[in-house]
């Protein structure tokens, strides 16, 4: 399943012809503007199950497209360094070709063979001038010396220490030259047993040493210092016998079977996409023959197959169980089905064996309109893009219609047998994460609370009274270690309410927090329906006379709640207290942030000038009066006073 990547549609027969034609269009884009849909067509071609040679063809195309800066609103561009053990030059093009599927336009820099540490530490290294956004560390047990048994527990620990220390030194050497995340791969264990089953007991066996090395990487990633790419897990999932290919290692020092380059590259690319905030957010489920066997409209409540006692019924339960597990980790669930609404809802309300209940579903679209229109409606209701949706449907015709109408919705192919639905969905890794915060855990609840708030609004009518009825408490505070991961996530994910769309890695964010010349604050909002968590982030550069707002972003969940006015009141008070006379705000237009075009004028800023598309606004603090809001504001930065800020810096 993983090896063939069967959640993807098979490559078109004329792939070579299509790839060449697209490449020619990309090359021509240097002289004249390309067709508007060229980016989408490239993405569509990449969104097939491709072999390693087809990926190389796409990597060549991507290399040219990077130069022309093609379709920046569709593809997130980045420069990736690939370093480490074995032959890396086969990995890099597979990653760059695959990346287009994940809406990344990757230009790679390939490290020298087995020379990562040297390249990381050498002051004259080309790595330092390369302008890397991210780096990938590839490790191999055979190069780390973890494939040879150690004589004692002490010798085994020393070998693991040495291997990990070298990896760590390489990463720390690279870190100043890498703007964002550093990805570190785990290592698959050697296949050949030494003691047999006793290898697991024996600390000096290669199996035990590799396990201990991988655990070190996991602990490291838990600290937030690196992002883990679990290649050991991938190798175990496809099977070590399939993964490990001694012939290729001996001939070319390629660490695994080249047949697995495509799925390996997909795992790497989806991790990079997750770092860039491009993971999916919502799972949309069809009903008939996707969540239960049979057709509810024809077969009725007693006729559909779901639940224990039949193999088919259990297969559909497994799909529901997976949906619930995803929901528990923050993935929002929605329904999109061609059915009478009353029929569609009946099993959720009345069928004793259903695990999914109406409570779990944020948006329920059951009608006879086409599914693309319903998916659009789901995205609108949740205030997310259709590119955040995954649509699970057993019907190939529906899948094709959705792919045509909404090419950015992820629509996995499904095998005939429902027993494999859950596994196929999981294998695609649509919801891969690089961190897991309290907000993630509670996100699905928050989206549902939102739906209830919308209902409350339509019942009340008067906005002021409605806002007052929400019992809002807005908390403004500096960013501590606990909140940092969530703040980084917001900074890298927010597209719509984001004035400058400036991205910060967690490390860059930590640096900004420490910088005494910058003010980084998080804003949280609790109301009577629940805790919305962190809903705004502000970063300001503190000048003597003026404070410049570098970053202002808010979660769209709290639009219309006057939180932005609370944010401004905070910034104005802090700037004034430090002796500044004005605030400067900028609007940098992107493909997605048109909604905040007039953000500053609405708040009373005057337009100063325009610079290369960026509009610059100014607010004189002398004439600014903080408004009265329908919420309690708990500004902990002011309460704590200057002492706390200094201590914080």
């Amino acid at each position: 399943m993983l090896k063939r990547m069967n959640w993807l549609v098979a490559a078109p027969k004329d792939f070579r012809v299509q790839a060449r034609a697209l490449h020619a269009e990309v090359a021509a884009a240097r002289d004249r503007a390309p067709a508007e849909d060229l980016g989408l067509r490239i993405h569509a071609l990449a969104n097939h199950a491709l072999d390693e040679n087809q990926l190389v063809a796409l990597a060549r195309l991507a290399a040219d497209a990077v130069k022309t800066g093609l379709a920046p609103q569709l593809f997130s561009a980045l420069k990736l360094g690939v370093f480490g053990d074995g032959t890396l030059s086969l990995l890099a093009p597979a990653i760059a070709g695959t990346a287009l599927r994940h809406r990344l336009m990757i230009d790679t820099l390939v490290g020298e063979f087995n020379a990562a540490l040297f390249e990381a530490l050498d002051p004259a290294s080309r790595v330092r001038a390369a302008g890397l956004d991210m780096a990938l560390m590839v490790s191999d047990a055979r190069v780390l010396g973890l494939d040879q048994p150690a004589a004692s527990r002490e010798a085994a620990e020393a070998a693991v220490d040495r291997a990990f220390a070298q990896l760590r030194q390489t990463v720390e050497g690279l870190r100043p030259w890498v703007a964002s995340a550093i990805l570190v791969q785990t290592v698959p264990p050697p296949l050949e047993p030494l003691f047999g089953s006793y290898d697991r007991v024996q600390p000096g066996s290669p199996l035990s040493m590799v396990a201990s090395f991988n655990q070190r990487i996991a602990d490291w990633a838990a600290s937030g210092a690196v992002v883990i790419v679990d290649v050991a897990r991938l190798a175990a999932s496809v099977g070590l016998e399939t993964w490990d290919d001694p012939g290729h290692w001996h001939a070319s020092k390629l660490g695994f079977s080249p047949d697995l380059l495509p799925v390996y590259a997909d795992v790497v690319a989806r991790t990079i996409a997750a770092v860039r905030g491009l993971s999916r957010k919502c799972l949309v489920l069809d009903l008939d023959n996707t969540l239960w066997g049979g057709v509810i409209g024809d077969d009725g409540l007693a006729g559909i197959v779901v639940g224990q006692g039949s193999a088919t019924g259990e297969a559909f339960l497994a799909v529901q169980r997976m949906a619930l597990a995803l929901r528990a980790r923050g993935v929002v669930l929605a329904i999109c089905s061609k059915n009478e609404e009353a029929n569609a809802r009946a099993p959720f309300r009345e069928h004793p064996d259903m695990l999914l209940r109406e409570d779990h579903i944020a948006v329920f679209q059951a009608n006879w309109t086409d599914k693309a229109a319903n998916l659009r409606a789901i995205a609108e209701t949740l205030n997310i893009g259709v590119d955040a949706l995954v649509f699970l449907d057993d019907n190939p015709a529906e899948r094709m219609q959705v792919r045509r109408a909404l090419p950015l919705v992820a629509v996995p192919e499904l095998p005939e047998d429902p027993a494999l639905y859950a596994r196929t969905l999981a294998a695609a890794g649509y919801f891969d994460a690089v961190a897991f915060s309290k907000e993630d855990r509670e996100r699905a609840e928050m989206y549902q609370a939102n739906a209830r708030r919308a209902a409350a609004l339509s019942a009340s009518g008067d906005i002021g009274a409605y806002l007052a009825s929400l019992d809002m408490v807005c908390t403004i505070d500096f960013v501590d270690d606990v909140a940092r991961a969530r703040v980084a996530q917001l900074v890298n994910k927010s597209n719509q309410f984001n004035l400058t769309t400036r991205r910060y890695s967690e490390a860059e964010l930590a640096a900004a927090i420490r910088d005494p010349m910058r003010r980084v604050v998080q804003v949280r909002l609790v109301d009577r329906f629940g805790d919305n968590g962190v809903i705004a982030v502000l970063i300001a550069d503190k000048g003597a006379d003026v404070w410049e707002i570098d970053t202002w972003l808010m979660s769209c969940r709290v639009l219309g709640r006057r939180v932005e006015e609370a944010c401004l009141a905070h910034l104005a008070a802090a700037a004034k207290a430090s002796g500044a006379q004005a605030l400067i705000g900028k609007f940098v237009p992107s493909a997605k942030n048109a909604m905040v075009k007039d953000h500053y004028p609405k708040l009373g800023f005057s337009r100063e000038r325009e610079l290369e598309g960026t509009a610059i606004f100014r607010l004189d603090l002398d004439s600014y009066v903080a408004p009265t809001l329908e919420m309690a504001v708990d500004d902990r930065t002011l309460a704590a006073g200057v002492g706390r800020e200094a201590a914080h810096a």
Binding site: R16, E52, V56, H250, A251, S252, P258
Partner: protein, 85 residues
């Protein structure tokens, strides 16, 4: 499979793997890696993997077989041997 048929299939694989036009005049049995710019040691690995897949070879190329390949004709001979076995 006749040698000429094998050669036609090899040209097709080369077009995919090397991203070149591999017509009859470009690739003959006498062609060597030094004749084709895109055919370097890395694309050579991909080429052999793609050929194993294309001809559905039951046994993989061994390292000594790979090292014995000097020209496209050697590759044809090897495939002939492996497909008739």
């Amino acid at each position: 499979m006749r040698r000429e048929e094998i050669l036609v299939e090899i040209r097709d694989v080369m077009a995919d793997v090397l991203g070149i036009d591999a017509d009859a005049e470009d690739v003959t049995e006498a062609t060597t890696a030094s004749d084709i710019e895109e055919w370097d040691s890395l694309s050579h690995i991909r080429l052999l993997v793609a050929i194993e897949r294309k001809f559905k070879l039951r046994s993989r190329f061994t390292n000594s077989e790979i090292e014995s390949l000097k020209r496209v004709g050697d590759l044809v001979t090897l495939i002939e041997k492996k497909t008739s076995a």
